[in-house]
């Protein structure tokens, strides 16, 4: 265990502001990148009207959502209906705070850590905040008092609860090997030995599949199956409240990709060459782009699963494999 240096509170405040804004910018351009990449894979151009190559499209979308009327159904339960998107967006943003994106720097005699909050239970914190975020989706759908929203939130609930088990079990192997829940320790342990994508390959695959389901992305996008449920739990939301739900979904995806990098792909370390410490965030961003591209690629390629297929895959395939992986890893770590 490396000792954790103390950090001035104002450094944390400034760093968190910078990180939040960077994550939001990533979210904005992820939506554009997704539409562009998907369009090219379907022999279309994608958005290309707002600014050169459609680069101002996210800003146009944001302005449109901001200036829309904040409509709510008469039967909706007011304060829960309003609270739900904020809860979802808050937990999504808060989760990113424990992800390490660099080794930490000393700038002008002040120590700037490589993540906003270096807590000893970082991994548990991520899963805990993720579980609270699910309440945003469930409560939002229920408080809308609409059958589509309710069915959507029931599906979200069932899917997220089912796949969260596999997701948590898939990272257990990493935790056992690194002997720590602190994410910076896990990154350091990978730099010392080998990236956990190699010994924990099964864990990586399970993590990616369960993560896709956890963020409700195609082919596991049943919670918002447009053809059946209009839009799922946020059917009755419009304007920036809908924007907050979308934002939380995309930021959850970014966080999940960042977590995947941290746990399996060596975090901010370079592939063969680490470079000076300021290069570390660039390595991190580069890996993030690749993982996000894979998610978009998966969305264009695979058709949506049927509900029974989803449940069967989650409980009968993913969960046993994840459990077996964790048990085998534990046995090997103890015996070797």
């Amino acid at each position: 265990m490396t000792p954790v240096p103390s950090v001035d509170w104002w450094v944390s405040v400034i760093e968190s502001l910078v990180v939040i804004n960077l994550v939001l910018a990533t979210f904005a351009y992820l939506t554009l990148a997704e539409r562009k990449v998907m369009a090219r894979m379907q022999l279309r151009y994608g958005p290309n009207r707002a600014g050169p190559y459609g680069l101002l499209q996210p800003i146009a979308d944001l302005l449109k959502l901001l200036f829309k009327e904040s409509f709510n159904p008469a039967a909706a339960i007011d304060w829960l209906y309003i609270l739900a998107p904020f809860l979802a967006a808050f937990t999504a943003l808060a989760t990113f705070s424990v992800i390490p994106f660099g080794p930490g720097w000393v700038i002008g005699g002040v120590y700037v850590p490589g993540q906003v909050a270096n807590v000893s239970i970082g991994l548990i914190l991520i899963f805990a905040l993720g579980s609270i975020g699910i309440y945003g989706f469930i409560v939002g759908g229920w408080a809308s008092d609409s059958k589509y929203a309710l069915l959507g939130s029931m599906r979200t609930c069932a899917q997220l609860v089912s796949y969260e088990v596999s997701l948590a079990l898939s990272v257990l192997g990493v935790v056992i090997m690194a002997e720590s829940l602190r994410l910076s320790d896990i990154v350091a342990a990978q730099a010392d030995t080998v990236w956990y994508a190699v010994p924990q390959f099964v864990g990586l695959v399970v993590f990616l599949l369960a993560g896709t389901a956890e963020t409700a992305r195609a082919p596991f996008d049943l919670p918002e199956a447009e053809q059946e449920l209009v839009a799922g739990y946020h059917t009755e939301y419009g304007g920036m409240r809908f924007g907050l739900f979308t934002m939380s979904e995309y930021i959850n995806l970014i966080t999940l990709s960042a977590l995947c990098i941290t746990l399996f792909l060596g975090g901010w370390h370079g592939i063969v060459w680490d470079g000076p410490s300021w290069v570390a965030p660039l390595w991190f961003i580069g890996k993030l782009v690749v993982i996000l591209y894979v998610f978009i690629w998966m969305r264009t390629t695979l058709p949506r699963l049927r509900y029974d297929q989803l449940m069967r895959f989650g409980w009968k395939v993913l969960l046993p494999v994840a459990t077996l992986n964790a048990v085998v890893t534990a046995l090997l770590v103890v015996w070797l």
């Binding site: 990449v37 090219r40 894979m41 022999l43 279309r44 690629w297 390629t301 695979l302």
Partner: protein, 164 residues
């Protein structure tokens, strides 16, 4: 039964498309030529001497399945001669918000007075503006859409029909 190899083949298929040119036609910037027989906005025609071909017989209105044509006829007089026939259309209106562009009016017309042109960009901000009066239909329409050369599309008359 899941087939992992086929799934990865699918990934290869989607990836390959990135390097191909999109087939999108960027519509307002690029307007593809319409076919010469494309049924667009109507036109009313006149003879070379300036008289209208329409004689106000209302056969087009009778043929119209959408009931969007309104014709009110009046008698031609020697002082006020509008059409080549006995009567002329005092009012000739087509409600474009109802028209389905079937071309039955064209077929019904005994004098080829009404035909369907090639213009399809006829959106308006108000429904009232979509009611086309006789003057609008007689006027030369603004050419907004290129029309393909009819020689490219017209099928030659087959030999067995040519002699008759």
């Amino acid at each position: 039964m899941p087939q992992p190899i086929d799934t990865f083949k699918g990934f290869a298929v989607t990836f390959r498309q990135i390097f191909r040119k999109p087939i999108t036609q960027q519509y307002p910037d690029y307007k593809r030529a319409v076919y010469p027989r494309f049924r667009g906005r109507h036109r009313l025609h006149t003879h070379e001497n300036g008289l209208e071909k329409c004689v106000g017989c209302s056969l087009c209105a009778a043929a119209c399945p959408a009931d969007c044509i309104r014709v009110v006829a009046a008698e031609n007089t020697p002082e006020h001669r509008v059409s080549a026939g006995e009567r002329y259309a005092r009012i000739y209106e087509i409600n474009m918000s109802r028209c389905i562009f079937c071309g039955y009016c064209e077929l019904a017309c005994p004098f080829d007075a009404i035909t369907l042109g090639n213009e399809f960009e006829i959106s308006e901000y108000s429904r009232d503006d979509l009611v086309y009066t006789k003057d609008m239909l007689l006027a030369e329409p603004i050419k907004r859409v290129p029309v393909a050369d009819s020689a490219l599309f017209d099928t030659p008359i087959p030999a067995y029909k040519r002699d008759s």
